[in-house]
């Protein structure tokens, strides 16, 4: 009993030490910190959208159509970012739209991580036929440009945000499978795996308890980068009319709505585009910081 508690404690303090050194490495990277700050603010906005947002995002104010933002000529403080062609308040739509970004990113990387890790580990532990089947299947998915594949899948499933997320996840999974398999294969040759095997550990235990934790650092980085790619791809699908459907205030769909007014009212496309850009940029910066902090070997030759 006593022994167990002390191991627990030492494990806990070891974990704290790892986290502390991780944070120390991470905060060296100024860009990653800025990214983290931006994403934290965005998360706050997304969570408290109901309280922050001045208007309902899909309410149409018929007396204020295509109102320019406050800094442009003719703008008013009642609609800070102006209104769209149907008179909906842009600021409120932006605030609610932030929820979609997190929703898309988290759901997509959840599918990618779970399915990618399981398939990758199965491939690594079953060299030969099963491995070949899995890896060839991934090659087939990778043979199609990802946006085209996602478009075709959404065409099959029917256009909606959920189906767009499924399609994006399918397109991203091969990267996770390849990464997991490659990492697992390099771990499999190591002594700790052989000794665990000698002690009679089951394959399941070897896969998920012994090998997987050591495969995680690059997977976490990949997941972060996929989070931002998922937001970009979902916005692209929304822009093509194959993602979120009106009237949902998803940022890509908002851009699609503004497209016909780009020459007459160009400000309409400014705010949603900038929002996507800063969100994706922040997540990519965080990804860079994570890469440097999690694995010094993978460090992108930074000055």
């Amino acid at each position: 009993m006593n022994v167990e508690t002390s191991t627990n404690q030492s494990q806990q303090s070891a974990f704290m030490a790892v986290m502390a050194s991780f944070w120390f490495e991470f905060k060296q990277n100024k860009g990653a910190l800025y990214g983290l700050v931006f994403i934290s603010i965005l998360a706050f906005i997304a969570i408290f959208a109901d309280f922050i947002s001045p208007y309902d995002p899909i309410e149409q104010y018929r007396d204020a159509l295509k109102l320019p933002p406050v800094w442009a000529e003719g703008g008013t403080w009642t609609h800070i970012f102006g209104t769209d062609a149907l008179g909906r308040d842009q600021l409120s739509r932006m605030i609610y739209g932030s929820r979609y970004s997190f929703y898309i990113g988290f759901i997509v990387i959840f599918f990618c991580l779970t399915i990618g890790i399981v398939l990758g580990l199965i491939a690594a532990f079953n060299r030969g036929f099963i491995e070949n089947m899995i890896m060839r299947l991934m090659d087939i998915i990778l043979a199609f440009p990802s946006l085209l594949m996602a478009l075709a899948l959404v065409a099959i499933l029917g256009p909606s945000l959920e189906n767009a997320m499924i399609a994006i996840a399918v397109v991203f999974i091969p990267h996770f499978v390849r990464l997991t398999r490659a990492q697992a294969l390099s771990e499999l040759g190591k002594d700790y795996v052989s000794s665990s095997k000698t002690m009679g550990a089951s394959t399941f235990r070897l896969m998920f308890i012994n090998v997987l934790p050591n495969c995680m650092p690059p997977l976490i980085v990949q997941a972060t980068m996929s989070f931002s790619s998922a937001i970009l791809d979902a916005a692209a699908l929304g822009f093509l009319g194959m993602g979120a459907q009106p009237p949902s205030p998803e940022w890509g769909t908002m851009l699609a709505d503004s497209r016909q007014y780009i020459l007459s009212d160009p400000w309409m496309m400014g705010v949603p585009g900038l929002a996507i850009l800063f969100t994706v940029l922040s997540i990519n910066l965080i990804g860079d910081g994570l890469r440097d902090a999690l694995d010094p070997k993978m460090k992108t030759a930074k000055s």
Partner: protein, 337 residues
């Protein structure tokens, strides 16, 4: 070298079986009966429906349909468009040069700026130039492509009025297009100003499409150069008193080429994917717009055939990149895999 190539080609067979299966499955899992889609709003009498089902072979068992389909593909028959009634392969070859032209100049633009910028950033590491370049390229990397394209249109077409908004050439020109490449065809024609018009139409979409690859190239060539610049043989070359230019370009850059070639190869898939958005926004009549239009029009044979043809391009490019590795780095060729 040949056994290396042969083995790489052999692996393609199962991949191709998978690709054709995927394209074949597409028509059968998609909601909506293809015959009814073809018939349109008015519908069909039952006997006509059965006749068409038979004519297209949809009444056969699935495995037989698949084998027939592959047999047709092997004979170069990719089906006929529901909408235009023309063979898919003909349409593909008619539109493909437009995409090649666009992608080629996008890639050219990306390489021309991205790689030198990355090299200079690596040599001048830690300077203001380095930091700003990395910030700009990360921004380019995070930009939604379609938004960037719209921004370019707003600024260069709308505000400055320099470039046209869509298409490949002004509608006032009529000439034969023997090669399908508008820049060449406009030069061959006698029309005055046609070449200039073609160039002006090409610039904006090429820049839009090339921006993300450019950012990737700059980042990749910077980090590849930084790695090789630290190697011992670079110190040796410097110690020998070679000029900094020679050390950077001949000694370091050549060894940094492998990761750069990899990224260029990968960017072809990115370019083809990006072409879908770019061509749609600029009404550029290439295969990207063709695929999007066909998906929206439920023109299944075109989607099916197009998927296979586009996958073929991606596979061929990957194969070329693998072969290029062997040429750049003889060590890979000798290992034989």
């Amino acid at each position: 070298m040949f056994s290396f190539l042969f083995r790489r080609l052999l692996v393609l067979i199962p991949t191709y079986i998978g690709i054709t299966l995927a394209a074949f499955a597409f028509i059968h899992v998609i909601p909506g009966d293809p015959i009814l889609v073809m018939a349109g709003e008015r519908g069909l009498p039952p006997e006509k429906y059965a006749e068409l089902m038979h004519a297209f072979g949809y009444d056969q068992p699935l495995w037989k349909q698949y084998l027939d389909y592959v047999g047709q593909l092997l004979q170069g028959n990719f089906g006929t468009s529901f909408v235009t009634g023309r063979p898919v392969l003909d349409e593909f070859f008619e539109l493909f040069p437009a995409t090649v032209e666009l992608a080629f100049f996008a890639l050219f633009f990306a390489l021309l700026i991205g790689i030198p910028a990355g090299i200079i950033a690596a040599v001048k590491r830690g300077t203001f130039f380095d930091h700003s370049l990395m910030t700009i390229s990360l921004t380019g990397f995070s930009m939604p492509l379609f938004w960037w394209a719209l921004l370019l249109i707003v600024f260069f077409s709308g505000y400055l009025g320099w470039t046209p908004v869509s298409g490949r050439i002004s509608a006032m020109f009529f000439f034969d297009t023997p090669t399908g490449f508008m820049l060449i065809d406009s030069l061959l024609s006698d029309e005055e100003g046609a070449f200039k018009s073609a160039v002006m139409h090409l610039i904006l979409p090429a820049v839009a499409l090339g921006t993300i690859p450019m950012a990737t190239f700059a980042r990749q060539s910077r980090s590849a150069m930084l790695e090789t610049l630290n190697e011992d043989f670079i110190k040796t070359a410097r110690a020998k008193g070679l000029s900094p230019f020679r050390v950077t370009i001949v000694h370091a850059f050549r060894n940094a080429l492998i990761p750069i070639v990899t990224v260029i190869g990968l960017s072809v898939g990115v370019l083809l994917g990006g072409a879908i958005l770019t061509e749609t926004i600029f009404s550029w009549p290439g295969i990207g717009k063709w695929m999007v239009d066909s998906i929206f029009r439920r023109d299944y044979p075109v989607v099916q055939g197009g998927l296979i043809l586009i996958a073929t391009i991606v596979i061929m490019v990957n194969l070329t990149v693998d072969v290029l590795y062997g040429i750049i780095d003889p060590r890979i060729r000798k290992q034989g895999h």
